[in-house]
Symmetry: C2
Subunit: 112 residues, 2 copies
DNA sequence: TTATATACCTAACAAACTTAGGTATATAAA
DNA sequence: TTTATATACCTAAGTTTGTTAGGTATATAA
């Protein structure tokens, strides 16, 4: 019943931020890290994650390389130089969004 | 150029919250109130607003009545009883979303 | 008479999800 | 041994929710 896009358009921002903090990650690892950080509250669906990664790569923000571990393929992602700049932009945008939403919903904890 | 869904899936929540605080509002008034509260940062597009209002009404969260003012029609919206409960749900959901996003982006100001 | 503000609306398109599949290997449990 | 779970990648159909771009109409200021 829950039509619940958990990250509401901020998935790209979260991915970029994780890659800023962890340098190199593969898709499955990202789902686990998000689950861990959010204490199990945010469960990325693969149908959202993989297309998002491919788009970020196509846009020039990520680059990839593959490794074989235990006979299984891992596709690692890493920020490009352009991607490094984009993290800052997207995080700033997310902060503004949170700020606006808190204002509109009267959730601001204190006066700015 | 800005593909900027300013409210990223929270438009319904914002509308319901405004109607909780102001009892009765019409569409155009909502756009002006959002602009005012956000200091001009959030400009609702009518193509998003009106369908959202119609959906909230169809879902039983809002009821309407019309008034003529200066020969022009105003369609007022008001929360139904069910809508009154839904505000709480949706605002709680939005708070959780903000919290999760702040955690994932390392934006949390302090430890909880 | 032209532009801006007020006031409603819809339709075509795009973005970003969910849901539901598919392929394949390693390992723990029944 | 076979079944389930974890690991690891992927895509396609459908839905929701927005943008963009129109349309109609009245009041008022330039």
């Amino acid at each position: 019943m829950s039509t619940n896009p958990l990250l509401k358009g901020t998935l790209q921002t979260v991915i970029l931020k994780l890659l800023e903090d962890h340098t190199e990650m593969y898709g499955y690892e990202i789902t686990q890290k998000v689950k861990e950080i959010s204490a199990g509250d945010v469960l990325l669906t693969e149908g959202a994650l993989y297309p998002a990664l491919h788009k970020l790569e196509a846009d020039g923000f990520l680059e990839t390389f593959t490794q074989i571990v235990d006979n299984r393929v891992r596709k690692y992602y890493r920020l490009t130089e352009q991607g490094g700049k984009e993290v800052t932009n997207k995080v700033t945008e997310a902060e503004a969004f949170i700020d606006q939403l808190q204002t509109l919903l009267s959730l601001k904890p204190a006066v700015k």
